[in-house]
Subunit: 332 residues, 2 copies
Amino acid sequence: MGVIFLQCRKIAPMTEFDLIDKYFKRSPAHAALGVGDDCALVSFDPSQQVAITTDMLVEGRHFFAGADAFRLGWKCLAVNLSDLAAMGARPRFFTLSFALPDADEAWLAQFSRGLFALADEHGIELIGGDTTKGPRTISITAMGEVPHGQALRRDAAQVGDEVWVSHEIGGAALRLFERWGRTSIPTAQVEHFVSRMETPTPRVALGLALRGLAHAAIDISDGLTGDLRHILRASGVGARVELAKVPTAQLIRERMAGAERDLMIECVLAGGDDYELCFTAPRSAHARIAQALSELGLRGGVIGEIVSGNELVVADETGARVTLPKSFDHFG
Amino acid sequence: MGVIFLQCRKIAPMTEFDLIDKYFKRSPAHAALGVGDDCALVSFDPSQQVAITTDMLVEGRHFFAGADAFRLGWKCLAVNLSDLAAMGARPRFFTLSFALPDADEAWLAQFSRGLFALADEHGIELIGGDTTKGPRTISITAMGEVPHGQALRRDAAQVGDEVWVSHEIGGAALRLFERWGRTSIPTAQVEHFVSRMETPTPRVALGLALRGLAHAAIDISDGLTGDLRHILRASGVGARVELAKVPTAQLIRERMAGAERDLMIECVLAGGDDYELCFTAPRSAHARIAQALSELGLRGGVIGEIVSGNELVVADETGARVTLPKSFDHFG
């Protein structure tokens, strides 16, 4: 279809409205009014608070030019679902705005397939959007629900809490460093790390399970230490983390003992884009959280504890303090 | 401040978090949790539906490179408020995502001033956002409230309805054509038409006044005939419009009788970016709507009527049918 379109587009180009109708308009399942009016209309459950997040992805910054469209559609929504997960919210509705250099139907077909594959997994409904010509940029705003008082906020960590990470981290950064030529990945493992970077799994089910168990939570998008620091700053506490306890891929762990140690530490502590959750919880919740992780097939665990003060200390295998690599900053 | 920043930015650059804190973070007035967590948390009134809209503005497409930052901040929010107005919704919350080529503080200070100037006029609260480096692109998602069953939808026009336009249209397009060198504007009137293009006034108060009076409504962003056609298609009706009744600036009306007739008709019928409302209402509501327009200082009025069929016919001063200019389409 893409090829036919490309051949005949000068004769019968699709308008932006055709594109929206063809690839993004579906009958609303939960919205009172979905795509196609000035606004969507939805009702939320009054016993719940509405959790709202927004993320923008820019070509060349968040994804490579020529990135697979299916995976990109998935990822654009995944990063927003990850924010809902980190709040303990159940996904409900999202809007999608994007700029594209041209109305490439083959690309849109794949992009929308990837987007809806993840949306359908989580029962979240696309209710509106905006399409324009411009440098490839995708902006999604997602809405979820969480019962009053049960949201996992950043400012709720308490001294004595255990600090958890939901699953292995550093893998997305390893793939990025490989693309940049700074390291290599054995052929048999490339697909694993590509998936970590390009089709992250938002930990929505875990976020829901953590309601009433965890105190504070954040998703790891910019790097563990940078993101954990947001919790510490908001909660007015410090943390002590053990590098050896941070869950990561076996390949990264092995290389951490060798010549690439610094780069691997950077992957694990400062590598963004894994979209695992970092959260704090009282020791009394330990067994239930460990069980929830296990039931979800996640190899996460406790990486340290919340302490008084405002410092983040990461200790290596010998107990020595690790010099923390810089977390990602878009204007840094 | 901008200058100082530019001088010292290599020594002490602001991070994206500093930028958000400095220019966009305020204490939440109505949100339970505002900017600074994974999500914002808000509660909506259960007697209301939530109206949600999103718009993305791209440099070179929706605004000129070098556009005044204050006016741009205003306009980015205005186009979203206009969608809420066209739904009869009361503005409540919005999110803001943007890509910027660099962290230009002088620009951000002006942009945020313009944004909040309009936000404060309407009591709408910024609850979250995302900042990244990239081609200058701004994406806003706005949420408002409207009582169940009172939203002004596109699919509610009825045969016999009068078709209204809220105020003069075509002015934004005139300014655009002047920028493109296709026409001129007398010096004394330039500022008027610049304002029409760069700082449109979303008709929120009118949208609220039209609840229970109007049947269908849309905001004129892509051009009168194109936008009215959305109502006709959604409602399964046609319309007959009289060109002479469409409210427009005196300058445009005068020129419509001369050599620039075709260009002026294009401004009025196909010029987007005015963000006036086009709506349909039963004749029984005529007096109350006319009074609402008058109280709001708007020079709008009835431009035609809804008829059976699916055709849009615009008649000129002699009753002859006007060949309709093409409305704006981003991929056209």
